[in-house]
């Protein structure tokens, strides 16, 4: 059963990867990577159950966190041009 889950995950990974490589714009690429992160989390969870050692879920948890932080960092970069303080903080600085 978990083997079927892993098969589905890997097929989806291939489809997403095709979009990440084809993706005409950089946004498509980021979107694909976001979904890919979710799938990696699922892959690790499914593998843990397949090997009957689901304790490794900690890593899946860490991945979910890192994926989110990474995507937000990337988007912040695109929105403001660098990874410094947000727009609001910089506006305050300009006024002060």
């Amino acid at each position: 059963m978990f083997a079927a889950a892993i098969l589905a995950i890997i097929v989806t990974m291939l489809l997403i990867l095709a979009r990440a490589l084809l993706g005409p714009t950089v946004w498509d690429c980021i979107l694909a990577i976001n979904s890919f992160g979710t799938l990696t989390v699922l892959l690790i969870a499914a593998h843990g159950f397949l090997m009957e050692r689901p304790e490794f879920l900690d890593i899946a948890l860490v991945y979910a966190l890192i994926n989110f932080i990474g995507i937000i960092a990337v988007l912040k970069f695109f929105e403001y041009g660098d990874l410094g303080p947000g727009k609001r903080a910089r506006l305050d600085e300009d006024q002060g």
């Binding site: 083997a3 892993i6 890997i10 990974m13 291939l14 990867l17 990440a20 490589l21 993706g23 950089v26 690429c29 980021i30 990577i33 890919f36 992160g37 990696t40 892959l43 690790i44 593998h47 843990g48 397949l50 090997m51 490794f56 890593i59 860490v62 991945y63 890192i66 994926n67 932080i69 990474g70 960092a73 990337v74 970069f77 041009g81 660098d82 990874l83 410094g84 300009d94």
Partner: protein
């Protein structure tokens, strides 16, 4: 059996990504693809039971290094300028190096072989006695923090120095760039 299949599927995906990174002209997209690559590498480490390495790969490879790459891209531009040209000499050299490396692996013990030297040397002692000698339930932690403590200390110093160096480089450039803008305002 199924484990080998997963191994190969993940390795295949990594191969596709590696080639994709080479052909990608947009540097942002290339940096993002690199982050997928290291997510998959970390998944591979999990499949091979090296959970601690996977932790490090996930946080450093997919987390910090992508942010550093973006910080570097903020200082430069987002498109690859020079068109790559096909050079026969370097290509042959790469092929040769790869062939030598693959030849080298044929002398190594098979993956997961219990009678390999590495599993007979100090590993059994770590596995059996670390609980009583050191304490933590995770053997890798005991090895890193106690049996090989000085080694780890050296590694940490190197990584810390590298981190400080990178931060110093990225931070100084940005402050310099920000100053003229303030003068104009």
């Amino acid at each position: 059996m199924i484990e080998v299949l997963i191994d190969e599927a993940v390795l295949g995906l990594m191969l596709i990504i590696a080639v994709g990174v080479l052909y990608q002209r947009n540097l942002f997209a290339a940096a993002m693809l690199t982050s997928i690559y290291s997510l998959l590498a970390a998944a591979l480490f999990v499949v091979m039971d090296a959970v601690d390495v996977a932790f490090t790969e996930a946080s450093v490879g997919a987390g910090i290094s992508i942010i550093l790459a973006l910080g570097a891209l903020a200082l430069t531009c987002g498109e690859q300028k020079a068109r790559p040209v096909f050079a026969l000499g370097p290509f042959l050299l790469v092929l040769l190096t790869g062939a030598v490396l693959i030849y080298g692996t044929s002398d190594m013990p098979a993956y997961g072989d219990a009678s390999a030297p590495i599993h007979r040397h100090v590993a059994p002692r770590y596995l059996e006695d670390s609980r009583g000698e050191v304490g933590p339930p995770n053997v890798v932690t005991s090895v890193l923090a106690s049996y090989r403590g000085y080694d780890t200390l050296g590694e940490t110093v190197v990584i810390f120095t590298a981190g400080v160096g990178v931060l110093a480089l990225l931070g100084r450039r940005r402050r310099k760039a920000a100053k003229p803008a303030e003068e104009e305002a």
